[in-house]
Symmetry: C2
C-alpha cells in the first residue's frame, strides 16, 4: 500500500511534486486563535504541559491551512526539565533556568524522565487520533549542544559563551553533559515515536559560529550518538536534523555522518548547492522575513527555492521559525503558490 | 627596497612565517589603560571624534603587545553620521539612530562628508607619525549593507529585519540607499589612505542569514562597487573584506568577485578549506571565546589555525572582536605562540 503521507515519502528518499509543506513555529503567536488561547492559559509552559491545550494548538494551523504535517506544540527545554532543572519563561526574555557547571544532581533515571515528559506523549496520542491519514505528525527534541548552551548560560546565548568556555576548560565534564543530554534526547524521541510521531526533528538552533573541532565534538558526534541510540530502539525512525546556520561544509558532514534521513537548512544556504551536494532529503529554507513581507518578493523567493530543488527529495519550509508579526494571509498565499507548482 | 610591514606583504600575496598578527577590537575595554581613559572621556563617540584621544587608544595595544598592525580607533557609524544622521551610543544598548525608510534628507555633498569625518583623518595622521616603520596602519569602514541595517532599524539587528523588509518591499529605494552609502564609504576609505592608512578593511558585520539573491544584491554588488570606486582614486589600495558569517559559498564568491585583496573569516570557517579555495590572502579566525578561556584549549586552537594556513598568505586574527572580559595576559600568550611558530 502506498504511503499516504507526502512528508514520509520524501524522507524515504522520494521526490514529490508539489513538495510537502509545513513551517517551523506554524502553531504560534502569529495566529489569532493561538493568541486567544494563550490569553486564557496563563503561561507558555502551562500550555506545553497541558495535553488537551497543546493538542488544540498543534491542530490550529492544520485546520486553517492544511499543512502536510503537524508538529507537536512543545518546547526543546522539556529535556532539561526532565533532568530536574527548573525552567521558567519570562515575558520578553524567553526561557530562564539556573545555570550549571557540572552534571551533579541531574536526574538520570529514565522512569523519572518519562514521568516528567508524559504530557508530551499524551499530546501526541490525542493529536494523532484527530489527524487525517495524509497529515504527518512530527515530534521533536533539542540537540545536546543547543540544550547544553541553555543549561550552561541559564538562558539563550547567541554567542554560546558559557557552553564554549565549559568545553574549552573542562572537556571531560562537558562531554558528560552532552552524553547525559543525548541519552535523554534519544529516550524522548523514542517515546514520541511510540506515542504516534511519524517523524522526529532534532533542533540544533545554536550550531553556528563553532570552530571546526568544536562542531565535530559538540554537533556531529552527539547527534550521531542520538541517532544510533534511537535506531537501536526504532530501526526505522525517520529523522530530520537541523544544525541551524552551520557552514556548508558542516551541513555536508552532518548529512553524511550523523545518520539523519533529512536535513533542514537555514535561509542562507543556496538550495541548488544543497540539491547537488547533500546525500539526504532536504528541507527549507524560505526567509521568514520574506514571508512577513509578502507580495512579489515572497513569490520570487518561493519560486527560487522550488526551481533549485526540482527533482530532489524536498520539504518546503522556512529557514527559521514563523515570526509573530506575520500576516496569516501570507501563509495562505505561500501554500497556494507551493501547491500550484 | 623590501616592504617592511609584514601585513602589507601578506596582502600583496606573500606567505610570511610567522604570520603577522593583529586583533579586531584590539583597542578596547579589555585593556585597563583604555578603561582609565574612557572613565575620563565621557562618551565612546566623543573618544572616536577626538583625534588625540583616538590616537592614544589606537596605540595602546601596540605599546603593550607589539601587534603588526594598528587599527584606527573609530566606529563604522561615522559614515551614517557623515550623511547627517544623529548617532548616539547608549550604555548596554549600543548605537541608536533615528530609523529611516527613504534617503530623502541624507547629505550628498562630499565636502560636508569630509568635514564631519575630518577627526578620523586627523587621528590617522597623528597615529602614522608615531608608528614605527614595521607596523601597518589600518583604516576601515562599514559595508553598505551593514550600515543600511543600522539605518533602517535604528540600531543593531541580528535578524536585519527592517533592512530585509525594505529590500523586499522597495528594491529601488533600498538600492539607492546602498549606492549612497557606497559612495560615502569609498570616499571615506580614499581619504583614510591619503591620511596614512596602509590598508583598509570593510566590515560587513551582518552579512549572515541572507538568501543567495540578497547576498548577491546587498553584499557582493555593493562591495564590488566600493572597491571599484576606491581603486579609481587609489589603484593600489590594499583592501581586506569581512563579510562576517557568510556561507562558504558566499566567502568564495566574495573573494572571487569583489576585487578585495584579502578576506577575513569568522570562527566557523575551516581554515584548510579557506587556504585551498580562496584566491586571495586570508585573515582570521580564532574563536574570541578560546582567547577568553586561555590555557591548553587556546594553544590547540591557535595551532589548528597555524597548521591549516601554512604556506598561504595569512594574517592571524580573531573570527570576531576581542571580548571585554578577556585577560590581557591571554593576548600576550597568543602573540608569543604565534610568533614562535
Amino acid at each position: 500500500m502506498k504511503e499516504e503521507k507526502k512528508l514520509v515519502r520524501v524522507i524515504g528518499g522520494e521526490s514529490v511534486s508539489p513538495p510537502p509543506i509545513w513551517l517551523m513555529r506554524q502553531a504560534g503567536r502569529y495566529l489569532p486563535e493561538y493568541r486567544a488561547l494563550r490569553a486564557k492559559a496563563g503561561s507558555f509552559w502551562a500550555m506545553c504541559m497541558n495535553p488537551q491545550m497543546a493538542c488544540e494548538i498543534t491542530l490550529q494551523p492544520i485546520g486553517r491551512f492544511g499543512f502536510d504535517a503537524a508538529i507537536i506544540f512543545s518546547d526543546i527545554l522539556v529535556v532539561p526539565a526532565a533532568l530536574g532543572v527548573k525552567v521558567q519563561f519570562e515575558e520578553n526574555v524567553g526561557p530562564v533556568l539556573p545555570p550549571i557547571s557540572d552534571i551533579a544532581g541531574l536526574e538520570t533515571d529514565q522512569g523519572k524522565w518519562a514521568a516528567t515528559l508524559a504530557p508530551v506523549y499524551e499530546t501526541l496520542k490525542l493529536t494523532r487520533a484527530k489527524l487525517d491519514s495524509h497529515t504527518a505528525l512530527i515530534g521533536f527534541a533539542g540537540a545536546p549542544w543547543t540544550l547544553a548552551t541553555y543549561m550552561a548560560q541559564g538562558r539563550g546565548s547567541p554567542d554560546q559563551r558559557a557552553a564554549k568556555l565549559w568545553f574549552y576548560r573542562d572537556l571531560e565534564g562537558f562531554t558528560q553533559l552532552l552524553e547525559l543530554l543525548g541519552d535523554c534526547v534519544a529516550h524522548h524521541l523514542a517515546r514520541q515515536i511510540e506515542a504516534g510521531a511519524d517523524v522526529v526533528q532534532i533542533f540544533d538552533s545554536w550550531a553556528s559560529g563553532l570552530p571546526e573541532r568544536m562542531f565535530e565534538a559538540c554537533v556531529i558526534a552527539p547527534t550521531k550518538r542520538v541517532v544510533q541510540k534511537l535506531r537501536a530502539i526504532h530501526p526505522n525512525a525517520r529523522i530530520i536534523g537541523f544544525p541551524r546556520a552551520a557552514t556548508l561544509d558542516g551541513y555536508e558532514r552532518y548529512a553524511r555522518e550523523t545518520g539523519v534521513d533529512a536535513i533542514s537548512l537555514d535561509t542562507s544556504v543556496p538550495m541548488r548547492w544543497a540539491s547537488e551536494k547533500l546525500n539526504v532529503a532536504i528541507q527549507g529554507n524560505l526567509d521568514p522575513i520574506a514571508l512577513l513581507a509578502g507580495g512579489n518578493a515572497l513569490k520570487q523567493a518561493v519560486d527560487d527555492i522550488l526551481q533549485a530543488t526540482r527533482g530532489k527529495p524536498f520539504i518546503f519550509n522556512l529557514g527559521h521559525g514563523v515570526l509573530q508579526e506575520t500576516p496569516p494571509e501570507h501563509v495562505a498565499e505561500l501554500i497556494t503558490r507551493v501547491r500550484a507548482s
